[in-house]
Amino acid sequence: ADVKLGLAAALTGPAAKYGVAIKNGFTLAADEVNAAGGVNGNKLQLIIEDEQGKKEEAINVFKKLIFKDKALLVFGPTLSNSAFAADPIANAAKVVAFGTSNTADGITAMGPFTFRNSVMEADVLPVTTRAAVKHFGIKKVAIIYGNDDAFTKSGYDVFKGTLADQKIPVTTTEAYAKGDVDFKAQLTKIKASNPDAIVCSCLTEEAANIILQTRALGMKQPFIGGNGLNSPKLFDIAKGAGDDTIMGSPWSPENLTPANKAFIAAYKAKFGSDPDQFAAQAYDALHVVADALKKIKLSGAIDKDRIALQQALPSVTIEGATGKFAFRKAPAVTGKEVGYDAQQEAIVNIAKGGKFILLK
C-alpha cells in the first residue's frame, strides 16, 4: 500500500519562494525513492497542501492532512511562526511534524513529535563568526537585521550573543522592516561607525539589496550572514558586489560529496534551475523518513504506525545532500517532553566570483 506523507508548505504569498523550493526538494526525493521501488515495497505518496505562510492556514492544513488524509507524518510548515501554531496539533494527535526550514528557538520544545532537520542558527553562527573574524582579521562589526521577522530577529539574537562571547565590539545595530527597499539611512549610519565587517541577519533579497546599496555608498566592508543568505538568488541580484560575503550553513553547492553532487544534478535535470538550501533540506528530510520507514513494519493501524515512526526516527543517520545527518534530543524543558533537533556540521562559505565556495 502507499504510504501517505503530508507536506504543508507556503506555495503562495511572500513565503512562496521557500515553499516552492521545499516542495521541489520533496517531490524529487519521493520520485527517487519510488523509482527505486519504494520502501519495503510501499510507494510514498506525497499529499501537498498550501499553507500560505499564515498561521491559521497552517493549522487548517495540518488538521486536514492528519485527520482527513490520514497522513503518516506531516512535513512543514515553512515558517517558524506557522510551526508554533501547527505543531501542537500534531503533538496532540501523536503524529510527527517534521520541519525542514524552521530554525527558531523552541520549536522542538513543543513536544516529542516535533522533529526538524533544519540546523539552528545557534549551531552555525558561532562557527561562521569565528571563521570570518580569523579570515579578515576583524576587530569590530556593525549589525543590520530585520526586526519584525521571527527568523531574522532570532538570527540577530544569536549573533549578538556570539559576538559578546567572542568579545567583538558592535559599532552600531540597525534594524529594518519587511518590505523595506531603501536601506541607505541605516547604512550611512553604519558607515559613520566605521566597522571592519557588517553582520547581516537578513533574508536573501534584502541582503542582496543591502549589499548593493552598501557599495553605492562607497563602503567596502565584507558581510557575515547565516542561512538566510544561502541562495543563488543573492548573486542574481547583487552580482559581483556580493563577493567576500561569509555565510554559514549546513548545505553548500560546493560541498562535493557524492550525495550532494547527485542531488544537484538531479534537481537541475528535473526543474531546470539550481537548488538552494531549502530544497536540499527538504530532499534530505524525505530520505531520513524513508530510512526510518525501512526499519518499521507498517501495521495498517494508522495510530500505531505513527507512533512507530516517531520511535524509529531518532536513531536514523544518513549521508545526504547536506552531509552527515543525525538527530539529537532538544534541550530539556521542565515538565514537558521535547522533540529532536538536527545534529550537523556547519559549512562556512565565502562568496567569490558570484557564488559561494567553501572557506578553507
Binding site: T12, G13, P14, A16, K17, V20, N147, D148, E174, A175, Y176, A177, K178, G179, D180, V181, D182, K184, A185, Q186, T188, K189, K191, A192, T204, E205, E206, A208, N209, L212, Q213, A216, L217, G218, K233, D236, I237, K239
Partner: protein, 293 residues
C-alpha cells in the same frame, strides 16, 4: 554623515512623492482611495523588466511602454470596477474594498506569471556607479528619481492650475453633477485620470525597480502603506501637498534612523499621521470647506 543622510532623505522622499502623485490624483478627482495603485505600480515595474529582458528595449522606451501598459491596466480597472460603482453612486467604502479585490487579483496573477522571487533589471540598464564628492555618494537613479518626480509634479500642477483641463478636473472633483451641466465630458475625464494616475504609478514602479533591485509581486504593498500616509498628510487630492508630504515622510524616516533608532523607522509615517491628524484633522495641508448648517 548628515549631508549623506539628507541626500538619502531627499531621494527616499522623492520615491514616496512619486508614488503618491498618481495615488492622490485619483483620490482628488474620483474621490476614491484606489488600493490597487500598489499593484499597478508593481506591474509597471515588471512590464519594463520584461521589455528590457526580452526585447532589449532601451530604458527610456521601456519606461514609456511600461507607463502605457500600467495606464491601460488602470483604465481597465476603472472601466470594469469603478465605473459601475460610480453609476450607482456607491458610497466611498465600496470602491475602496473593490480595489482591494483588484489588488489581490493582480498580485496573485503576477505571482503566477513571474514567480515569487526578487527580480532586478539587467546590469547596465542604468549606470550603477555612484558620483562621489568627498564622502558623499549619489547614484544616477537617485538623481533621476528626484528630477523626474519634481518634473512630473510641476507638470501635473501646471495642468491642474493653469489649463482648462485642470479646471475641469477640479470641477469634477467638487461636483460631478455641476461638471456635467458645464458640458464637461465627465466620464471621459474619469478614464483619463485613471489612466494618467496608473501611468504615473507605473513610472514610479520602474524607477523604484531600477533603484532598489527588488522587483517582486509584493513590492506594491509596503509602498501603498506609505502612500496612504502621504496622501492623507498632504490633504485629500492635493498634488503639491502629496509632494511635500512625500518628502516630509522621507526626511522623517531617514532622520529617525539617523538620530533616534532604526527600530522605529516604519512607525514614523503612521505615527506622525496619527499625531498630525489629532492636531490638524484635515492633514498637514488639507483645508476643510464645511459649513455647519
Amino acid at each position: 554623515m548628515l549631508e549623506q543622510q539628507l541626500i538619502n532623505a531627499l531621494s527616499l522622499g522623492s520615491v514616496y512623492a512619486l508614488f503618491a502623485l498618481g495615488f492622490t490624483l485619483v483620490f482628488g478627482v474620483l474621490g476614491v482611495i484606489n488600493l490597487s495603485h500598489g499593484a499597478i505600480f508593481m506591474l509597471g515595474s515588471y512590464a519594463a523588466l520584461l521589455l528590457i529582458e526580452h526585447f532589449a528595449l532601451p530604458l527610456w522606451l521601456a519606461m514609456l511602454a511600461a507607463m502605457l501598459a500600467s495606464g491601460l491596466i488602470g483604465l481597465a480597472v476603472d472601466y470594469l470596477v469603478l465605473r459601475p460603482l460610480r453609476a450607482r453612486n456607491a458610497p466611498h467604502l465600496a470602491p475602496m474594498i473593490a480595489t482591494i479585490g483588484v489588488a489581490t487579483i493582480l498580485t496573485s496573477l503576477a505571482q503566477g506569471l513571474f514567480g515569487a522571487e526578487n527580480k532586478r533589471f539587467p546590469v547596465g540598464t542604468i549606470p550603477e556607479e555612484s558620483y562621489n564628492w568627498g564622502n558623499l555618494h549619489v547614484t544616477a537613479v537617485q538623481i533621476g528619481i528626484v528630477v523626474i518626480s519634481f518634473i512630473l509634479m510641476l507638470v501635473l500642477l501646471a495642468v491642474m492650475r493653469r489649463t482648462q483641463l485642470g479646471r475641469a478636473l477640479r470641477a469634477i472633483a467638487e461636483s460631478p453633477k455641476a461638471a456635467y451641466l458645464l458640458g464637461i465630458n465627465v466620464e471621459g475625464l474619469f478614464y483619463l485620470t485613471s489612466f494618467a494616475a496608473a501611468a504615473l504609478g507605473g513610472a514610479a514602479g520602474v524607477l523604484v525597480g531600477l533603484s532598489f533591485n527588488a522587483i517582486t509581486p509584493f513590492m506594491g504593498q509596503p509602498m501603498l502603506h506609505k502612500g496612504i500616509a502621504v496622501i492623507i498628510l498632504g490633504g485629500m487630492g492635493d498634488i503639491r501637498g502629496a509632494m511635500i508630504a512625500g518628502l516630509f515622510l522621507g526626511f522623517a524616516e531617514v532622520l529617525t534612523v539617523a538620530y533616534i533608532s532604526s527600530d522605529f523607522r516604519d512607525a514614523v509615517g503612521f505615527g506622525l499621521l496619527f499625531l498630525i491628524l489629532l492636531v490638524k484633522p484635515s492633514g498637514m495641508f488639507g483645508k476643510v470647506l464645511e459649513r455647519k448648517a
